[in-house]
């Protein structure tokens, strides 16, 4: 009887009280209470101060950079992440196991390591950086660098979200479409894409959220120059904690703003995803 139950159904399985107690206690202690402090702190600023802070050119710039670069990186990741998933699911080729096993490297590799390594690779004393510079592209210490770092840390989100869906997708779908005379591209767009869309959105959302809040892998390659607009929000928050004039209220307000933006984006994505998945499940 799968009817919606508003209150807890009495279950024969023991342990409800214990696990509820421990879960809620630990969640509150380690996550919710500290986060509530950020909220409380940011309310120490008056509305006017809050607005003044948020409209400061470097703050606006930083939000634009964080969100813009994270969006660009998440989109690139959707493309390459899906491609990687596709290749890993559909084809056999030498080195496939290795490729599959290494997709999560960006999760396992400390962000600081990724940050300094990418910086050296793409700066003008690295060979990639020199190659790009010779065609007039400056990768390190620019927004492009930030995007590169965010692509690096975000790629597993998309691949790992899409891969299981592709694995489960029956090849009959494609065959049916091909038999009806659809071209390869048409088949992909009209048959496969709708199937993987919800998963792709999940991956996109996770990569985006990660990119917007990213610190370690970004701060080295970005150069953190106000003039070039390569400061990210995390960097500005950290500055307020570090520099001589500590500004906790400002940091808390920025953090709150960042939280609101992240959650709003995840919320919107959730709605879109819900709509998309309803159609494919029908």
């Amino acid at each position: 009887m799968g009817k919606a139950r508003v209150t807890r159904k009495k279950s024969v399985i023991p342990g409800f009280g214990l696990t509820l107690g421990v879960t809620v206690a630990m969640l509150s202690l380690f996550v919710l209470i500290p986060l509530a402090s950020v909220l409380a702190y940011s309310f120490r600023l008056s509305g006017q101060e809050f607005i003044r802070l948020m409209t400061r050119p470097n703050v606006v710039q930083a939000f634009a950079t964080s969100i813009g670069c994270a969006l660009a990186a998440a989109l690139i990741n959707c493309l390459f992440g899906t491609l990687l998933a596709w290749v890993l699911v559909r084809y056999d080729f030498p080195g496939k196991r290795l490729m599959d096993g290494m997709i999560e490297l960006p999760f396992a590799l400390p962000t600081a390591v990724a940050g300094i390594t990418l910086t050296k690779m793409y700066s003008n004393n690295g060979f990639l950086g020199r190659a790009l510079e010779s065609v007039g592209i400056q990768a390190a210490y620019s927004k492009l660098g930030i995007v590169i770092a965010m692509v690096f840390i975000g790629i597993p989100f998309v691949t790992r979200a899409v891969q299981p869906v592709l694995e489960k997708l029956s090849p009959f779908y494609e065959e049916a479409s091909m038999m009806l005379g659809a071209s390869r591209l048409r088949t992909f767009c009209s048959v496969i894409l709708p199937e993987i869309a919800p998963a792709l959105l999940t991956g996109f959302g996770l990569a985006l959220a990660r990119g917007i809040g990213e610190y370690g892998s970004v701060i080295y390659i970005s150069g953190n120059s106000e003039k070039n607009g390569t400061q990210v929000v995390s960097y500005i928050i950290m500055q307020k904690l570090n520099s001589g004039n500590v500004d906790y209220e400002g940091a808390a307000a920025l953090a709150l703003m960042l939280l609101i933006i992240s959650f709003a984006m995840l919320f919107v994505l959730n709605i879109v995803q819900h709509a998309a998945s309803r159609r494919t499940n029908a």
Binding site: M1, K3, A4, R5, V6, K9, K10, V12
Partner: protein, 355 residues
């Protein structure tokens, strides 16, 4: 009465799964709770087991109220719908689990488990895991696991649902035999009337949270008390009215009637056997003939209404469109109060069974 349920009510949100159900079961009986899906039969079984809590009403087992008694203290063995065998335990450990929980001595556990294993005929498979067993074998293990701790009452939730059709027939006989051997009072839930008729001593028919009728399989088949039961048990055709048929002219108009295939006879007009009954015959046209393995299922259009009858393969061939004589022996007629059997008046004094 060994098991009694008194006025059991249960709601899930706006869905009433049990609307004041009352019944009693005698010790040693094998009872089927039969009903379509959504009739509340599984809920009732789970309430009896203590897996769900009734909103109101009392449950008595062996004369003792067990309302507040948790599931594990009711002394009930339960066979779950998909068996819920422990996938990470061997056959032996599955059967031994309930005994270990009861802190039985190791030696006694071993004895009881091997007794169970030989009872269900799976000697030599004790070390296997559930995924290495066939569907039928899994059901046997689930049964053994449930009765190993010697429960006073055995409940089975759709015990044959997860088994393919061919093995199912074998297992029905097997289960009936086992339960008789063990001698445990048992209740099982099913949506399949054949299953209920074949296995159970008594059948309780449930519909939309109500208990429609109780009785032996034959009793229920012969004397359905509600339109639902008449329609649910056996194959049947519903007629809006009987008044158009010869011999039923005095049937009250507007009452629905239910006709079983065996209430209908169709024969060619030159049939000698039925010659004496021609005065009671209606004429019909064959609309459809379907092969059912051991007989033909023939659908006829009579007076604008459809009747179905079964025809032996031994009889003469018939064709779609053919005109035939149709004899209606009897029908169930219903009103708000219940069902009654109406016999064809023109056939009074004729020994129908002899035909």
């Amino acid at each position: 009465m060994y098991v009694e349920m008194k006025n059991i009510c249960k709601k899930f949100g706006s869905c009433e799964a049990a609307k004041g159900i009352t019944f009693g079961i005698e010790k040693g009986k094998l009872t089927a709770l039969l009903g379509p899906s959504g009739s509340g039969k599984t809920t009732l079984l789970r309430i009896l087991a203590g897996l769900e809590q009734q909103d109101s009403g009392d449950i008595l087992i062996d004369g003792k109220a067990v309302n507040g008694v948790p599931a594990n203290e009711r002394g009930i063995g339960f066979v779950f719908q998909n068996y819920a065998l422990f996938r990470y335990m061997t056959v032996y450990d599955n059967i031994a689990f309930g005994l270990k929980v009861k802190k039985m001595e190791k030696k006694k556990i071993r004895e009881r488990v091997s007794e169970m294993v030989s009872l269900i005929g799976l000697e030599g498979l004790e070390k296997r895991y559930p995924d290495q067993l066939s569907g039928g074998q899994r059901q046997r293990v689930a049964f053994a696991r449930a009765i190993a701790p010697k429960p006073d009452l055995l409940l089975l939730d759709e015990p044959f649902a997860a088994i393919d059709a061919k093995v199912r027939k074998e297992l029905r006989a097997w289960l009936k035999e086992m339960i008789r051997k063990v001698g445990v009072t048992s209740i099982f839930v099913t949506h399949d009337q054949d299953e209920a008729v074949e296995v159970a001593d008594d059948i309780f028919i449930l519909n939309e949270g109500n208990l429609e009728q109780t009785g032996s399989p034959k009793d229920i088949y012969k004397h359905p008390q509600t339109p639902f039961v008449a329609e649910f048990i056996g194959t049947s055709t519903v007629l809006e009215s009987l008044t158009g048929f010869k011999g039923f002219e005095d049937a009250a108009p507007g009452k629905k009637a239910i006709v079983r295939p065996e209430f209908v006879e169709a024969f060619k007009s030159d049939n000698q056997k039925f010659k004496s009954l021609l005065h009671a015959v209606e004429y019909g046209t064959v609309e459809n003939i379907a092969f059912r393995g051991s007989y033909w299922e023939v659908t006829l259009s009579v007076n604008g209404m459809q009747l179905t009858t079964n025809r032996s393969l031994e009889r003469r061939d018939i064709a779609v469109g053919e005109k035939m004589c149709v004899l209606l022996y009897r029908a169930y007629v219903f009103d708000g109060n219940g069902a009654e059997i109406r016999k064809n008046k023109l056939l009074e004094g004729v020994d129908i069974e002899a035909l």
